[in-house]
């Protein structure tokens, strides 16, 4: 049997087509959750599978894909369909974690785009765009044929030579271009500021009595359902991780707060639909209406995990300070999870890799002569040298990455068309890279512990303490490394000083580094990888045992840490320089707590904006429910939880994710395992 599997693997590895097909089959298995069904599918699917040759130009490959697409009708009001069996052969890094500027698609007809293309100088860029545009034209024709009615057919036809006009048409056009982005192999695709983008279409239709408010709401509902439909295909590492984020609300350059009927509708429909995706992110500001916060709290209260809040009062100044144009900063969206992004102008790859702060720290503990480290200053100095080496290598690895030429993304960045340079080669205005980070909390807590146990109380020498760590604290569970009063997440000067010192170093280390196309590397203090990176990671001096998860985003592992304490702590973290690449506070709340304190909880969130958090998300679920759901998944098919930047069905999560959530819920409730 093993021999056969080996042989199959060999064949698969030899054939690019087969190995790409295997990835698709794997995704179908997530959909069916049934091996037999998957195998049956695979046997049929292989004949429908298509992947154009990479010998063709990128534009041509995309056009070929569009020609081969089998589009099915799945709604009476829109056409939106993905064909998982037609894919591009992607060999390098593909742009991901981004949001195209849908306004361009709404405002510009295909004809105009083609005219622009005709005026370009001959060459690869022009050719790729030309084929892409032809492909789009052919796709429109194909979709028109199966349109359920004349209105939908017209909405599609208009893409060719008209600006979008009307609410339903605008939604159709967003779906159309969104489908193209997915179909061309991009992952984690956001949707942008839909309340803002759709504002004028909605208002015009309402004014001209073309639709009612309720009809608009029902269109939004359908729009979101369609986006959710293929979430098994769209999901990245974990089911639910699709990056389909809708950005709502936001502060305007004149200081006013923007929101409209649609802002409310998107949140209310999210609450109603109870689907893990698409998710909504609300940009909040001091002068936002209380009613909007109440609507959000009602939605969060259901446990759906969103809206996530992004605090414009803190985020926007940091974007401007970093160097984004003021107007751009005010119109930011986020990459899949939290990382601020300027659409229509950026190549910015915000989620390339995770800085693991504990890695250089542990390396230091393993390599240094620890007896020579006599005080906290020396400890910090040593750590800094290891961190610097780590960051250098980290940056070099990112800078060496090669990206797939990307005509689709370039099409939605006007600057690329102006300079006729592909987005991956520097055609965009902003060309930054972004990293997430994890285990800063564990590192800070380790330093605090060393300080206390070694330098202050002199209970152990550093090498003795390190030996205990290397032994995974076996038989030494009573040394109370986890019980120290001050810890990451406490509003304490000392904790903040260490935290800000370390991130400032990284900020300085990156100051003079530019990537191959002139961009910077930004980073933030939240990351998806608190489980993946920690799985095989040694024990750490914060009391974490080998393999245990790292502390999640900006959160605390202190039992019953008050929310105000965490907010104050997070608000005193320095996000300046290039430290703004997503910084989300993450905490657990029990549904009954929220229910019993609805008004005060709303007050708390509104006041937190002024206190100055960066971003915030929460899981509203009790430990009791989670424990029951883990034991009897069949009774909780619809339980949704927030995972990192996305929501997912609890039952779809790997066991270790379930455990982390349960443990955190218990801690929040002041209970122990």
């Amino acid at each position: 049997m093993n021999k056969i599997i080996e042989l199959i693997n060999k064949i698969i590895n030899k054939s690019e087509k087969l190995s790409n097909f295997t990835v698709i089959v794997y995704k179908y298995n997530r959909k069916y959750r049934n091996m037999t069904k998957t195998i049956l599918f695979a046997l049929k699917g292989i004949f429908k599978f298509y992947m154009p040759s990479t010998k063709l130009s990128k534009g041509m490959q995309i056009r070929k894909i569009f020609q081969k697409l089998k589009i099915k009708r799945n709604s009476d009001r829109f056409i939106y369909y993905l064909d998982p069996l037609k894919i591009l052969n992607i060999k390098n890094f593909e742009i991901e974690n981004t949001t195209i500027d849908y306004e361009i698609g709404l405002e510009k007809s295909l004809e105009e785009m083609q005219k622009e293309n005709e005026n370009m100088k001959d060459g690869e860029y022009k050719e790729n765009q030309k084929q892409l545009l032809l492909g789009i034209e052919e796709l429109i024709e194909k979709e028109k044929k199966i349109a359920p009615n004349e209105q939908v057919a017209n909405n599609l036809e208009n893409i060719k030579n008209k600006k979008a006009d009307g609410f339903q048409e605008a939604l159709q056009r967003i779906l159309f271009y969104n489908q193209i982005v997915w179909q061309t192999g991009h992952h984690l695709n956001g949707l942008g500021r839909l309340d803002k983008i759709l504002d004028k279409y909605y208002k015009k239709d309402i004014k001209e009595n073309k639709i009612t408010k309720e009809e608009a709401r029902s269109l939004i509902n359908e729009f979101m359902k369609l986006l959710h439909e293929n979430f098994w295909f769209k999901s990245n590492a974990l089911l639910g991780d699709t990056g389909q984020v809708i950005i709502l609300g936001g502060k305007e350059p004149n200081g006013e707060y923007f929101c409209n009927d649609l802002t409310y509708m998107f949140i209310e429909e999210t609450e109603k639909l109870q689907l893990p995706d698409p998710k909504v992110l609300l940009r909040v500001a001091k002068n936002m209406p209380r009613e909007l916060m109440e609507t959000s709290v009602k939605c969060i209260k259901t446990g759906i995990g969103c809206p996530l809040f992004s605090n414009d009062e803190v985020v926007i100044p940091q974007l401007i300070n970093f160097g984004y144009d003021e107007k751009d900063a005010y119109s930011y969206v986020t990459a899949a999870c939290w990382e601020p992004l300027i659409t229509g102008k950026s190549f910015d790859q915000n989620n390339m890799k995770t800085i693991v702060f504990l890695k250089p720290f542990t390396e230091m503990l393993n390599k240094e002569n620890l007896e020579e480290i006599k005080n906290q200053e020396q400890l910090m100095e040593k750590y800094k040298t290891y961190l610097e080496k780590y960051i250098d290598e980290f940056f070099a690895e990112l800078d060496a990455r090669k990206f797939e030429t990307d005509p689709v993304m370039s099409l939605f960045i006007p600057h690329c068309n102006q300079v006729e340079i592909d987005v991956t080669e520097g055609g965009a205005i902003y060309n930054n890279y972004g990293a997430t980070s994890v285990s800063l909390a564990n590192t800070v807590n380790s330093i605090i512990n060393i300080n206390k146990f070694v330098f202050q109380d002199k209970k152990y020498t550093l090498s003795e303490l390190n030996e205990l760590r290397k032994n995974n604290f076996e038989n030494n569970e009573n040394i109370q490394l986890k019980d120290q009063g001050i810890r990451y997440g406490k509003d304490d000067d000392k904790v903040l000083e260490i935290t800000n010192m370390i991130t400032k170093w990284v900020d300085e280390m990156l100051e003079n580094k530019t990537n191959r196309i002139g961009g910077k590397l930004k980073f933030g203090l939240s990351a998806p990888s608190y489980i993946d990176e920690s799985k095989d990671f040694e024990a750490s001096l914060d009391g974490r045992k080998k393999g245990d998860a790292f502390i999640v985003h900006i959160s605390s592992d202190i039992t019953s840490n008050p929310y105000t304490e965490l907010i104050q702590f997070a608000s005193k973290i320095d996000y300046s320089g290039n430290r703004f690449n997503g910084n989300v506070i993450d905490f657990m709340v029990t549904p009954s707590f929220m229910e019993n304190n609805f008004e005060k909880f709303t007050d708390f969130l509104i006041l937190s904006i002024d206190v100055g958090f960066f971003q915030m998300q929460m899981n509203v679920v009790s430990s009791e429910t989670l424990i029951k759901a883990k034991e009897h998944p069949e009774e909780f098919p619809n339980l949704i939880v927030r995972v990192w930047g996305f929501s997912a069905y609890f039952n779809d999560l790997p066991e270790e994710y379930k455990n982390v959530l349960i443990e955190r819920a218990l801690k929040n409730e002041g209970k122990s395992y």
Partner: protein, 245 residues
Amino acid sequence: MKVRVTNIQRFSLQDGPGIRTTVFLKGCSICCPWCANPENIKYEIQGEFGYDIELDELEKEILKDEKFYKSGGGVTFSGGEPLLQFDKLEPLLKRLKQQNINICIETALFVPTSLLEIALKYVDEFIVDIKILDNSEAKKVLNGDIELYYKNIKKLFEQKHNITFRIPVTKEYTLQEHNKKRILDLLEKYKPQQVEIFKLHRLAESKYKTLKKNLIEFKEVTYDDMENFLKEIKNVKINAKICKI
């Protein structure tokens, strides 16, 4: 100057209006058999329970969440019987008042009236317990002097209006007809701004264990019992609600 506390709880939502920081002062003048904070009854430090804190330090802790007090919140002194340490606390109360921090206390009022008089100078919100109003029973069960309690109530209502009464509901005491009647008479006489009634809970069980004490079992109070009692209170035209903890 120092006071003795067991805990400073930020983000308290149950101890008065808005978002508050609750300071649990150690030491009590009576001894309720259902006490939810048994570690606060004795003034003496008991193992992990209790520490002394300088008023400056305490002030700093209280002001940490100042921005959240805009919700109508502030600081709540609870206990134990917070009034017992109010003479020591007075300089801090004065400073908090100057900074416009809303001050609330949760008191059982079994204290010398001189201490209440300090509170009357600074405290904005009073949450006052009604426990057992029968003279001999109060003595026997709580070790409290009910005459002192009534005297303090009178004094309090002469000067303040925004007073909330809190009533722990037990079949053994509160709901006994003779006691209930006294409660309703008291409410009718003073017309407090609000009454909150609540069921006992056993969340403090582990603390009782640590203190090597026993938490007595009380008879089950049903939903109907609570609703009926609520109705009776509302009948004397008092704004009342059931409080969920």
